[in-house]
């Protein structure tokens, strides 16, 4: 019998928790631990990190026993494009202005779906940009330049 760890869901859930717990404990070494009477800044995170590691080990053990697999599908395209669209939005907000940031956001986000149609997305981008400029910039008075340099 081969141990199939790469799609063992709970094994990885346990790993994730142990990783987080260990990282928390490791980083918290730099903060004073103190004592129960005078809890230092390191006390609580170290404690939580320890608890996480214990939970992680238990969940990992469950995973090894039950061999539950990953379920559901994951669209890699959406996983990459959607966060990317946000990052581009943030980047452009500071360098190019509100309108370019929004247009790029809509295009990149829309590209995360398979049925991407350029004309339709263009129309959506246009409507959303006009609507959000009206609501957020003119209506609520958010102080962002529409296009930098203009």
């Amino acid at each position: 019998m081969k141990l199939e760890l790469q799609n063992n869901r709970d094994f990885w859930a346990g790993m994730m928790l142990i990783g987080l717990g260990a990282a928390a404990m490791f980083i918290a070494r730099d903060y004073r631990f103190g004592s129960a009477l005078r809890m230092g800044p390191g006390f609580f995170p170290t404690m939580l990190g320890g608890i996480l590691i214990v939970f992680g080990l238990c969940i990992m053990a469950t995973g090894l026993r039950s061999k539950e697999k990953f379920q559901g599908r994951l669209s890699l395209r959406a996983l990459i494009m959607l966060p990317l669209s946000l990052i581009l939005f943030g980047f452009l907000m500071e360098r190019a202005g509100f309108i370019p940031a929004l247009v790029v956001l809509v295009f990149v986000a829309a590209a995360s779906e398979k049925g991407f149609k350029v004309l339709e997305v263009l129309l959506i981008a246009l409507i959303l940009t006009v609507a959000s400029t009206a609501v957020f910039i003119w209506g609520l008075g958010l102080p962002y330049p529409l296009i930098k340099g203009f």
């Binding site: 869901r9 709970d10 990885w12 859930a13 994730m16 928790l17 987080l20 928390a24 980083i27 903060y31 004073r32 129960a36 009477l37 005078r38 809890m39 800044p41 006390f43 609580f44 995170p45 939580l48 990190g49 608890i51 996480l52 939970f55 238990c58 969940i59 469950t62 990953f70 379920q71 559901g72 599908r73 994951l74 669209s75 395209r77 959406a78 996983l79 959607l82 966060p83 990317l84 946000l86 939005f89 943030g90 980047f91 907000m93 940031a101 929004l102 956001l105 986000a109 829309a110 995360s112 779906e113 339709e120 997305v121 959506i124 959303l128 959000s132 957020f136 609520l140 958010l142 102080p143």
Partner: protein, 498 residues
């Protein structure tokens, strides 16, 4: 009569023009997202939170609450008309509601659902008004050890009673506590887990984490698993129930309300559990159980009352104790904190307009929903046909602007993108982000109360067991944990929530 005095005061607050307007917007937006596929109250409340920075906290909370129960309402509309539950709470309504629609009684089902929700809402307004003040007064006497134990019980109960693997939920609460203490330490000012980013000094933004996990995460998972929506609209028919219909519905509505109110104050239970419970009860007490599933009006009346009662009573622990009993309530607590209000029993004495105004607004909002929705049903049904590929870019725009406008910094937007990826990873691992959110909100408070409790007791950890109220909470916490490990209870819980 202090109760009536307080309620009248509440109504005077909630009936002011501004608050009425925000209540209306909340109900409208709530119904909208209840009807629309693929966007829930969590994501919406998180995204709209930044828009409320400049309005008074009462108005903000009134609107956010409106979104919450409005969504519940919109969800039942689509359950009845097209057999698609807009929210998980209305899954049960599909069973008999849709059958009624197929028999040409959609209008009656909608009216009964509306009436049931309204009656449940009215009763729960009274329940909150009755039980809120004594609860808050009791909690005012709590010291740090009591608070710590209470929060511990709240978090454990939320994790244990929630749907999904109990151990993972508990672990996710701890992850949330850890994320919650990122930033300057309250007592010493030490910057913890900031990795050199000054933007993290004040902690991870509440909106950042909520929008990242719930809006972005939701869209990624919806796009990964596209749902085929085939919409068959039934004829709405007459909206007016007959006298017999009303008679048949009254008892189920009352039973549903009682059940919903009970489940409502328990942390971790979702409105779906209350409505499911009500459906089971109605089928049990019915003279002819075989009618259920074939358009029994009790199967609409009971569950609809139950889920509304549950949603509303979730506000009791949030407003009086500062304990979030569900993900949405964690967002509400976050909204309070963003407005500079320390949640807890002092809210009622220091901000009475907030407490009573919000409660009264729920009654007003429920009334608005009845008046607003029945005539507008055709518009809502039309919205069902909006394809997701048009919807999600709009959600992204709202999310992005919402996050950016909180602190006017791109850093928050990048961080939200990371949380979106984290959220989808957690979903794949079946680690629910909701318990994490509860921990995140309570993180700093738990640490502070733990620190103070141990200071009072000279570092003796038995302080939690020697003070009677604290001991009670600890015993309940342990009982909950033991109960859930028992195989028989565990199995029944899985049947019930799964």
């Amino acid at each position: 009569m202090e109760l009536f005095h307080n309620l009248i005061f509440g109504f005077s607050v909630s009936l002011s023009l501004q608050n009425l307007l925000y209540c209306f917007i909340g109900c409208l937006v709530g119904t909208l997202i209840g009807v629309l596929p693929g966007i829930g109250p969590m994501a919406t409340i998180a995204m709209l939170l930044p828009l409320t920075y400049n309005v008074p906290p009462v108005a903000a909370l009134i609107m956010l609450a409106g979104i919450y129960y409005g969504a519940m309402y919109g969800g039942s509309t689509t359950s009845i008309l097209v057999n698609l539950p807009g929210e998980t709470a209305s899954v049960i309504t599909c069973l008999d509601g849709y059958q009624m629609a197929r028999q040409g009684r959609a209008g009656v089902a909608l009216t009964i659902a509306a009436l049931g929700s309204f009656i449940a809402g009215s009763i729960c307004t009274l329940i909150i008004a009755l039980f809120g003040p004594p609860l808050a007064n009791m909690a005012l006497k709590f010291g740090a050890p009591e608070y710590f134990s209470l929060m511990l019980m709240g978090l454990v109960a939320a994790a244990v009673l929630a749907h999904g693997d109990m151990m993972k939920s508990l672990a996710m609460v701890v992850v949330g506590l850890l994320l919650g203490i990122v930033g300057s330490d309250v007592a010493y000012g030490v910057k913890r887990f900031c990795f050199g980013f000054f933007e993290l000094t004040d902690g991870i933004g509440f909106v950042v984490i909520a929008v990242g996990l719930f809006a972005l995460g939701e869209i990624i998972s919806n796009l990964s698993d596209p749902e085929e929506r085939v919409v068959f609209t039934s004829k709405v028919g007459s909206l007016y129930p007959t006298l017999a219909d009303l008679k048949q519905s009254l008892a189920p509505i009352l039973r549903g309300t009682a059940l919903g109110a009970f489940f409502g104050v328990l942390p971790g239970t979702t409105p779906a559990i209350a409505s499911f419970g009500s459906y089971i009860v109605e089928r049990k007490v019915a003279k002819d159980p075989s009618r259920f599933g074939h358009g029994a009006i009790e199967g609409v009346a009971g569950p609809e009352a139950a889920n509304n009662a549950d949603a509303q009573c979730k506000f009791i622990p949030m407003l009086t104790l500062g304990i979030p009993a569900s993900g949405v309530m964690a967002l509400m607590l976050g909204a309070l904190m963003i407005h500079g209000i320390q949640p807890g029993p002092t809210v009622m004495t220091q901000r009475p307009e907030l407490f009573w105004g919000l409660i009264a607004s729920m009654w007003v909002g429920n009334l608005m929903l009845v008046v607003l929705n029945l005539p507008l049903i055709r518009i809502w049904v039309g919205l069902l046909k909006v394809p997701y590929r048009i919807l999600f870019p709009a959600i992204m725009v709202f999310a992005a602007i919402g996050i950016y406008s909180t602190n006017n910094t791109s850093f928050d937007v990048y961080l939200a993108a990371i949380f979106g990826i984290l959220g989808i990873t957690w979903r794949m691992l079946e680690c629910s982000p909701i318990p994490m959110m509860l921990g995140f909100v309570l993180g700093p408070m738990i640490e502070e109360n733990l620190r103070r409790a141990l200071q009072v007791s000279d570092g003796d950890p038995t302080v939690f067991l020697t003070r009677p109220i604290s001991l009670t909470f600890i015993i309940f916490t342990i009982l909950l944990l033991i109960l859930m490990v028992l195989p028989s209870v565990r199995k029944r819980r899985d049947d019930f929530t799964g």
